[in-house]
Protein backbone atom coordinates (compact mmCIF):
# COMPACT_ATOMS: atom_id res chain seq x y z
CA UNK A 1 0.00 0.00 0.00
CA UNK A 2 1.25 3.45 -0.87
CA UNK A 3 0.49 6.71 0.87
CA UNK A 4 0.38 9.47 -1.72
CA UNK A 5 -1.27 12.00 0.58
CA UNK A 6 -0.34 15.05 -1.47
CA UNK A 7 -1.53 13.50 -4.72
CA UNK A 8 -4.84 12.53 -3.16
CA UNK A 9 -5.32 16.03 -1.79
CA UNK A 10 -4.55 17.61 -5.15
CA UNK A 11 -7.02 15.26 -6.80
CA UNK A 12 -9.69 16.18 -4.27
CA UNK A 13 -9.16 19.90 -4.84
CA UNK A 14 -9.45 19.51 -8.62
CA UNK A 15 -12.57 17.42 -8.12
CA UNK A 16 -14.18 20.04 -5.87
CA UNK A 17 -13.41 22.85 -8.31
CA UNK A 18 -14.90 20.85 -11.17
CA UNK A 19 -18.03 19.90 -9.25
CA UNK A 20 -18.75 23.44 -8.11
CA UNK A 21 -18.01 24.85 -11.56
CA UNK A 22 -21.61 25.96 -12.34
CA UNK A 23 -21.83 27.92 -9.07
CA UNK A 24 -18.64 29.91 -9.21
CA UNK A 25 -18.84 30.33 -12.96
CA UNK A 26 -22.21 32.07 -12.80
CA UNK A 27 -21.01 33.99 -9.74
CA UNK A 28 -17.95 35.31 -11.59
CA UNK A 29 -19.89 35.78 -14.80
CA UNK A 30 -21.44 39.20 -15.29
CA UNK A 31 -24.80 37.73 -16.22
CA UNK A 32 -25.32 36.50 -12.68
CA UNK A 33 -28.67 37.45 -11.30
CA UNK A 34 -30.24 37.05 -14.75
CA UNK A 35 -33.81 35.87 -14.45
CA UNK A 36 -35.66 34.72 -17.57
CA UNK A 37 -38.75 36.72 -18.38
CA UNK A 38 -40.93 34.84 -20.78
CA UNK A 39 -43.20 37.35 -22.49
CA UNK A 40 -46.85 36.38 -22.16
CA UNK A 41 -49.26 37.09 -25.00
CA UNK A 42 -51.33 40.24 -24.57
CA UNK A 43 -55.08 40.07 -24.45
CA UNK A 44 -55.17 36.37 -23.59
CA UNK A 45 -56.79 35.32 -20.32
CA UNK A 46 -55.51 31.77 -19.86
CA UNK A 47 -53.61 28.93 -21.43
CA UNK A 48 -55.12 25.49 -22.14
CA UNK A 49 -54.52 24.56 -18.50
CA UNK A 50 -53.61 26.51 -15.36
CA UNK A 51 -50.41 28.55 -15.40
CA UNK A 52 -48.97 26.49 -12.53
CA UNK A 53 -49.53 23.25 -14.42
CA UNK A 54 -48.14 24.66 -17.66
CA UNK A 55 -45.06 26.07 -15.96
CA UNK A 56 -44.21 22.78 -14.33
CA UNK A 57 -45.46 20.16 -16.77
CA UNK A 58 -46.02 21.66 -20.25
CA UNK A 59 -43.52 19.14 -21.63
CA UNK A 60 -45.59 16.22 -20.33
CA UNK A 61 -48.72 17.69 -21.87
CA UNK A 62 -46.94 18.21 -25.18
CA UNK A 63 -45.70 14.61 -25.16
CA UNK A 64 -49.23 13.36 -24.46
CA UNK A 65 -50.61 15.61 -27.19
CA UNK A 66 -48.05 14.26 -29.60
CA UNK A 67 -48.97 10.66 -28.84
CA UNK A 68 -52.69 11.41 -29.04
CA UNK A 69 -52.42 12.94 -32.51
CA UNK A 70 -49.72 10.82 -34.08
CA UNK A 71 -50.50 7.43 -32.63
CA UNK A 72 -54.28 7.58 -31.97
CA UNK A 73 -55.54 10.20 -34.41
CA UNK A 74 -57.19 12.18 -31.58
CA UNK A 75 -56.68 15.77 -32.64
CA UNK A 76 -58.87 17.76 -30.26
CA UNK A 77 -57.98 18.48 -26.65
CA UNK A 78 -60.79 18.90 -24.14
CA UNK A 79 -59.20 20.70 -21.20
CA UNK A 80 -60.07 20.13 -17.56
CA UNK A 81 -62.30 23.22 -17.74
CA UNK A 82 -64.12 21.77 -20.75
CA UNK A 83 -62.72 24.03 -23.48
CA UNK A 84 -61.82 22.46 -26.80
CA UNK A 85 -58.54 23.12 -28.58
CA UNK A 86 -56.99 21.80 -31.77
CA UNK A 87 -53.88 19.86 -30.76
CA UNK A 88 -51.16 21.66 -32.69
CA UNK A 89 -47.83 23.01 -31.55
CA UNK A 90 -47.47 25.50 -34.37
CA UNK A 91 -51.17 26.26 -34.72
CA UNK A 92 -52.47 26.38 -31.14
CA UNK A 93 -49.40 27.02 -28.93
CA UNK A 94 -47.67 29.46 -31.25
CA UNK A 95 -51.07 30.86 -32.15
CA UNK A 96 -51.02 32.75 -28.83
CA UNK A 97 -47.37 32.56 -27.88
CA UNK A 98 -46.51 34.03 -31.23
CA UNK A 99 -42.89 34.77 -30.50
CA UNK A 100 -40.90 31.67 -29.67
CA UNK A 101 -37.72 33.63 -28.99
CA UNK A 102 -39.41 35.78 -26.37
CA UNK A 103 -41.38 32.95 -24.77
CA UNK A 104 -40.07 29.39 -25.13
CA UNK A 105 -36.39 30.23 -25.58
CA UNK A 106 -36.27 32.49 -22.51
CA UNK A 107 -36.38 29.65 -20.00
CA UNK A 108 -35.05 26.92 -22.28
CA UNK A 109 -31.87 28.87 -22.90
CA UNK A 110 -31.57 29.72 -19.21
CA UNK A 111 -31.74 26.13 -18.03
CA UNK A 112 -29.89 24.77 -21.03
CA UNK A 113 -32.85 22.73 -22.25
CA UNK A 114 -32.63 21.98 -25.93
CA UNK A 115 -35.92 20.41 -27.03
CA UNK A 116 -35.86 19.11 -30.59
CA UNK A 117 -39.46 20.14 -31.36
CA UNK A 118 -38.32 22.86 -33.73
CA UNK A 119 -36.14 20.59 -35.82
CA UNK A 120 -39.40 19.68 -37.55
CA UNK A 121 -42.23 21.85 -36.25
CA UNK A 122 -42.37 25.24 -37.86
CA UNK A 123 -41.60 28.33 -35.83
CA UNK A 124 -43.94 30.79 -37.52
CA UNK A 125 -42.38 33.80 -35.82
CA UNK A 126 -39.20 33.21 -37.83
CA UNK A 127 -41.06 32.98 -41.13
CA UNK A 128 -42.87 36.22 -40.25
CA UNK A 129 -39.51 37.80 -39.50
CA UNK A 130 -40.21 38.49 -35.81
CA UNK A 131 -38.03 35.84 -34.23
CA UNK A 132 -34.32 35.95 -33.71
Amino acid sequence: MMYDGSKILLGLVIFLIAVTFPFWFSWVNEKSGFVPEPKLPEGEESCVESAEYMKALHMDLLNQWRNAVVRDGRRVYVSSSGNRYEISLTGTCLGCHSNKAEFCDQCHDYVGANPFCWDCHVDTSVSRGEGK
Binding site: V69, R75, Y77, S79, S80
Partner: protein, 264 residues
Protein backbone atom coordinates in the same frame (compact mmCIF):
# COMPACT_ATOMS: atom_id res chain seq x y z
CA UNK B 1 -13.15 -9.05 -6.99
CA UNK B 2 -14.12 -8.65 -3.35
CA UNK B 3 -17.60 -9.23 -1.95
CA UNK B 4 -18.73 -5.61 -1.54
CA UNK B 5 -17.73 -4.68 -5.08
CA UNK B 6 -19.56 -7.69 -6.42
CA UNK B 7 -22.65 -6.82 -4.38
CA UNK B 8 -22.60 -3.25 -5.60
CA UNK B 9 -22.42 -4.36 -9.23
CA UNK B 10 -25.34 -6.74 -8.69
CA UNK B 11 -27.49 -4.04 -7.13
CA UNK B 12 -26.54 -1.54 -9.83
CA UNK B 13 -27.38 -4.02 -12.57
CA UNK B 14 -30.76 -4.88 -11.07
CA UNK B 15 -31.61 -1.19 -10.60
CA UNK B 16 -30.89 -0.41 -14.25
CA UNK B 17 -33.13 -3.28 -15.34
CA UNK B 18 -35.82 -2.14 -12.91
CA UNK B 19 -35.82 1.43 -14.16
CA UNK B 20 -35.98 0.24 -17.77
CA UNK B 21 -38.86 -2.06 -16.88
CA UNK B 22 -40.79 0.68 -15.09
CA UNK B 23 -40.34 3.03 -18.05
CA UNK B 24 -41.82 0.37 -20.29
CA UNK B 25 -44.84 -0.17 -18.02
CA UNK B 26 -45.97 3.45 -17.93
CA UNK B 27 -49.11 3.66 -19.96
CA UNK B 28 -50.93 6.72 -21.26
CA UNK B 29 -54.16 7.41 -19.44
CA UNK B 30 -55.91 10.75 -19.54
CA UNK B 31 -54.10 13.70 -21.02
CA UNK B 32 -52.87 16.58 -18.90
CA UNK B 33 -54.36 17.39 -15.46
CA UNK B 34 -57.80 15.93 -16.06
CA UNK B 35 -58.28 16.77 -19.71
CA UNK B 36 -58.67 14.33 -22.57
CA UNK B 37 -57.88 14.05 -26.25
CA UNK B 38 -60.74 13.22 -28.58
CA UNK B 39 -61.24 12.70 -32.27
CA UNK B 40 -62.18 15.68 -34.38
CA UNK B 41 -65.85 15.68 -35.40
CA UNK B 42 -64.92 16.63 -38.97
CA UNK B 43 -62.92 13.44 -39.56
CA UNK B 44 -63.75 11.63 -42.79
CA UNK B 45 -64.28 8.05 -41.79
CA UNK B 46 -63.54 5.04 -43.91
CA UNK B 47 -62.87 1.41 -43.10
CA UNK B 48 -60.25 0.86 -45.78
CA UNK B 49 -58.96 3.81 -47.72
CA UNK B 50 -57.75 3.12 -51.22
CA UNK B 51 -56.80 4.92 -54.39
CA UNK B 52 -57.45 4.33 -58.06
CA UNK B 53 -55.04 5.74 -60.63
CA UNK B 54 -56.55 5.98 -64.11
CA UNK B 55 -53.23 5.80 -65.94
CA UNK B 56 -54.83 6.31 -69.38
CA UNK B 57 -56.39 9.56 -68.33
CA UNK B 58 -53.20 10.58 -66.53
CA UNK B 59 -51.23 9.97 -69.75
CA UNK B 60 -53.55 12.23 -71.72
CA UNK B 61 -51.80 15.06 -69.90
CA UNK B 62 -48.32 13.64 -69.76
CA UNK B 63 -46.58 16.78 -68.61
CA UNK B 64 -48.99 17.45 -65.76
CA UNK B 65 -47.41 17.41 -62.30
CA UNK B 66 -50.23 19.07 -60.36
CA UNK B 67 -50.61 16.20 -57.89
CA UNK B 68 -46.89 15.96 -57.18
CA UNK B 69 -46.54 19.68 -56.62
CA UNK B 70 -49.61 19.81 -54.39
CA UNK B 71 -48.41 16.90 -52.25
CA UNK B 72 -44.85 18.05 -51.93
CA UNK B 73 -45.69 21.65 -51.05
CA UNK B 74 -48.42 20.59 -48.59
CA UNK B 75 -46.09 18.23 -46.76
CA UNK B 76 -42.86 20.22 -47.00
CA UNK B 77 -41.14 17.53 -49.04
CA UNK B 78 -37.69 18.89 -49.89
CA UNK B 79 -36.60 19.23 -53.47
CA UNK B 80 -33.16 17.60 -53.53
CA UNK B 81 -31.39 17.48 -56.88
CA UNK B 82 -29.07 14.55 -56.17
CA UNK B 83 -31.06 11.43 -57.17
CA UNK B 84 -29.22 9.44 -54.49
CA UNK B 85 -30.68 11.60 -51.72
CA UNK B 86 -34.08 12.44 -53.22
CA UNK B 87 -37.12 12.54 -50.96
CA UNK B 88 -40.38 11.67 -52.73
CA UNK B 89 -43.92 10.97 -51.60
CA UNK B 90 -45.54 10.72 -55.01
CA UNK B 91 -43.72 10.68 -58.35
CA UNK B 92 -43.67 9.24 -61.86
CA UNK B 93 -41.90 6.01 -62.70
CA UNK B 94 -41.71 4.26 -66.07
CA UNK B 95 -44.36 1.61 -66.82
CA UNK B 96 -41.66 -1.03 -67.13
CA UNK B 97 -40.28 -0.31 -63.65
CA UNK B 98 -43.69 0.11 -62.04
CA UNK B 99 -45.07 -3.15 -63.40
CA UNK B 100 -42.02 -5.39 -64.02
CA UNK B 101 -44.20 -8.51 -63.97
CA UNK B 102 -46.64 -7.06 -66.48
CA UNK B 103 -44.12 -5.99 -69.08
CA UNK B 104 -42.43 -8.31 -71.58
CA UNK B 105 -40.15 -8.07 -74.57
CA UNK B 106 -43.02 -7.31 -76.98
CA UNK B 107 -44.62 -4.66 -74.77
CA UNK B 108 -44.97 -1.56 -76.93
CA UNK B 109 -41.67 0.28 -76.59
CA UNK B 110 -43.54 3.55 -76.21
CA UNK B 111 -45.60 2.12 -73.34
CA UNK B 112 -42.54 0.78 -71.48
CA UNK B 113 -41.17 4.28 -71.19
CA UNK B 114 -44.48 5.90 -70.28
CA UNK B 115 -44.66 7.45 -66.85
CA UNK B 116 -46.97 5.97 -64.21
CA UNK B 117 -47.81 7.73 -60.97
CA UNK B 118 -46.47 5.87 -57.93
CA UNK B 119 -46.77 6.41 -54.17
CA UNK B 120 -46.96 4.38 -50.97
CA UNK B 121 -49.37 1.51 -51.60
CA UNK B 122 -50.66 1.42 -48.02
CA UNK B 123 -50.45 -2.35 -48.28
CA UNK B 124 -52.84 -4.55 -46.38
CA UNK B 125 -49.87 -6.66 -45.32
CA UNK B 126 -47.08 -4.08 -45.25
CA UNK B 127 -43.49 -5.44 -45.12
CA UNK B 128 -42.23 -2.13 -43.71
CA UNK B 129 -44.48 -2.49 -40.66
CA UNK B 130 -43.40 -6.08 -40.19
CA UNK B 131 -39.72 -5.16 -39.94
CA UNK B 132 -39.79 -1.83 -38.04
CA UNK B 133 -38.07 -2.42 -34.67
CA UNK B 134 -39.86 0.41 -32.83
CA UNK B 135 -43.38 0.52 -34.33
CA UNK B 136 -42.46 3.93 -35.70
CA UNK B 137 -44.36 2.77 -38.75
CA UNK B 138 -47.59 0.89 -38.19
CA UNK B 139 -50.89 0.02 -39.78
CA UNK B 140 -53.87 1.97 -38.51
CA UNK B 141 -56.46 -0.73 -37.91
CA UNK B 142 -59.55 1.46 -38.26
CA UNK B 143 -58.89 2.71 -41.81
CA UNK B 144 -55.89 0.77 -43.16
CA UNK B 145 -53.45 3.66 -43.45
CA UNK B 146 -49.76 2.82 -43.06
CA UNK B 147 -48.68 5.54 -40.65
CA UNK B 148 -45.29 6.96 -39.79
CA UNK B 149 -44.23 8.42 -36.43
CA UNK B 150 -41.30 10.74 -37.09
CA UNK B 151 -40.74 11.16 -33.35
CA UNK B 152 -40.04 7.50 -32.81
CA UNK B 153 -38.11 6.58 -35.95
CA UNK B 154 -34.49 5.70 -35.15
CA UNK B 155 -33.43 5.93 -38.79
CA UNK B 156 -32.33 2.31 -39.21
CA UNK B 157 -33.82 2.20 -42.75
CA UNK B 158 -34.94 -1.42 -42.38
CA UNK B 159 -38.34 -0.35 -43.78
CA UNK B 160 -36.67 1.01 -46.93
CA UNK B 161 -34.86 -2.28 -47.34
CA UNK B 162 -38.13 -4.17 -46.93
CA UNK B 163 -40.37 -2.05 -49.18
CA UNK B 164 -40.75 -3.71 -52.62
CA UNK B 165 -41.95 -0.48 -54.19
CA UNK B 166 -39.19 1.99 -53.27
CA UNK B 167 -41.85 4.16 -51.66
CA UNK B 168 -39.80 5.28 -48.68
CA UNK B 169 -37.28 8.08 -48.48
CA UNK B 170 -34.59 8.72 -45.90
CA UNK B 171 -33.45 12.20 -44.91
CA UNK B 172 -29.74 11.86 -45.61
CA UNK B 173 -29.35 15.57 -44.83
CA UNK B 174 -31.36 18.27 -43.09
CA UNK B 175 -34.41 18.67 -45.37
CA UNK B 176 -34.78 22.32 -44.42
CA UNK B 177 -31.70 23.10 -46.50
CA UNK B 178 -33.71 22.12 -49.56
CA UNK B 179 -36.91 23.95 -48.61
CA UNK B 180 -35.87 27.48 -49.49
CA UNK B 181 -38.97 27.72 -51.65
CA UNK B 182 -40.97 28.20 -48.48
CA UNK B 183 -42.37 26.08 -45.72
CA UNK B 184 -46.05 25.34 -45.24
CA UNK B 185 -46.56 26.19 -41.55
CA UNK B 186 -49.61 23.90 -41.40
CA UNK B 187 -47.42 20.81 -41.61
CA UNK B 188 -44.09 20.01 -39.93
CA UNK B 189 -40.92 19.40 -41.86
CA UNK B 190 -38.75 16.41 -41.01
CA UNK B 191 -35.34 16.33 -39.41
CA UNK B 192 -32.27 14.59 -40.79
CA UNK B 193 -32.00 10.91 -40.02
CA UNK B 194 -35.64 9.79 -40.25
CA UNK B 195 -37.62 7.96 -42.91
CA UNK B 196 -40.73 9.43 -44.53
CA UNK B 197 -43.38 8.54 -47.09
CA UNK B 198 -46.90 9.30 -48.32
CA UNK B 199 -49.42 9.28 -45.46
CA UNK B 200 -52.58 9.32 -47.63
CA UNK B 201 -53.05 12.81 -46.14
CA UNK B 202 -54.12 11.54 -42.71
CA UNK B 203 -54.01 15.15 -41.47
CA UNK B 204 -56.39 16.30 -44.21
CA UNK B 205 -58.77 13.36 -43.74
CA UNK B 206 -59.06 14.46 -40.11
CA UNK B 207 -60.28 17.85 -41.33
CA UNK B 208 -62.77 16.32 -43.72
CA UNK B 209 -60.67 16.98 -46.82
CA UNK B 210 -59.63 14.52 -49.52
CA UNK B 211 -55.90 13.95 -50.14
CA UNK B 212 -54.03 16.92 -51.61
CA UNK B 213 -53.00 15.04 -54.78
CA UNK B 214 -56.58 13.97 -55.52
CA UNK B 215 -57.87 17.49 -54.98
CA UNK B 216 -55.14 18.96 -57.22
CA UNK B 217 -55.84 16.37 -59.92
CA UNK B 218 -59.55 17.15 -59.89
CA UNK B 219 -58.81 20.82 -60.52
CA UNK B 220 -56.17 20.15 -63.20
CA UNK B 221 -56.50 19.42 -66.90
CA UNK B 222 -56.32 15.68 -66.26
CA UNK B 223 -59.39 15.91 -64.02
CA UNK B 224 -60.31 12.62 -62.40
CA UNK B 225 -57.17 10.58 -63.06
CA UNK B 226 -56.80 10.14 -59.30
CA UNK B 227 -59.66 8.87 -57.16
CA UNK B 228 -59.74 8.20 -53.45
CA UNK B 229 -62.31 6.52 -51.26
CA UNK B 230 -63.42 3.75 -48.96
CA UNK B 231 -62.97 0.34 -50.60
CA UNK B 232 -65.23 -1.30 -48.02
CA UNK B 233 -68.10 0.97 -49.03
CA UNK B 234 -69.73 -0.55 -52.17
CA UNK B 235 -71.26 2.82 -53.06
CA UNK B 236 -67.94 4.70 -53.15
CA UNK B 237 -66.57 5.92 -56.45
CA UNK B 238 -63.45 3.74 -56.15
CA UNK B 239 -65.37 0.55 -55.36
CA UNK B 240 -67.69 1.08 -58.34
CA UNK B 241 -64.78 1.74 -60.70
CA UNK B 242 -62.89 -1.34 -59.58
CA UNK B 243 -65.94 -3.55 -59.96
CA UNK B 244 -66.62 -2.25 -63.48
CA UNK B 245 -63.19 -1.92 -65.05
CA UNK B 246 -60.02 -3.98 -65.38
CA UNK B 247 -57.41 -2.92 -62.85
CA UNK B 248 -53.99 -4.09 -61.72
CA UNK B 249 -51.77 -3.71 -58.66
CA UNK B 250 -47.99 -3.40 -58.37
CA UNK B 251 -46.21 -6.75 -57.82
CA UNK B 252 -49.33 -8.60 -56.63
CA UNK B 253 -47.37 -11.86 -56.44
CA UNK B 254 -45.58 -10.71 -53.29
CA UNK B 255 -48.79 -10.87 -51.29
CA UNK B 256 -48.51 -7.39 -49.81
CA UNK B 257 -51.99 -6.47 -51.14
CA UNK B 258 -51.42 -2.88 -52.28
CA UNK B 259 -54.39 -0.51 -51.86
CA UNK B 260 -53.45 1.62 -54.83
CA UNK B 261 -55.05 0.25 -58.00
CA UNK B 262 -54.27 1.10 -61.62
CA UNK B 263 -56.67 1.23 -64.54
CA UNK B 264 -54.62 0.48 -67.66
Amino acid sequence: MDESKRGFLKIAGCSVLGVLGAAGMRTATDVGPGGKAVESSTTLSGKKWGMVVDSQRCLENEGCTACIEACHSTHNVPNIADPKEEVKWVWKESYEHTFPTQSHEYTKASLKEKPVLVLCNHCEDPPCVRVCPTQATWKREEDGLVMMDQHRCIGCRYCMVACPYGSRSFNWQDPRNALQGGINPEYPTRTKGVVEKCNFCAERLAKGQEPACVEACRKSAGAGALLFGDLEDPESEVSKLLSEKFSIQRKPGLGTKPQVYYLV
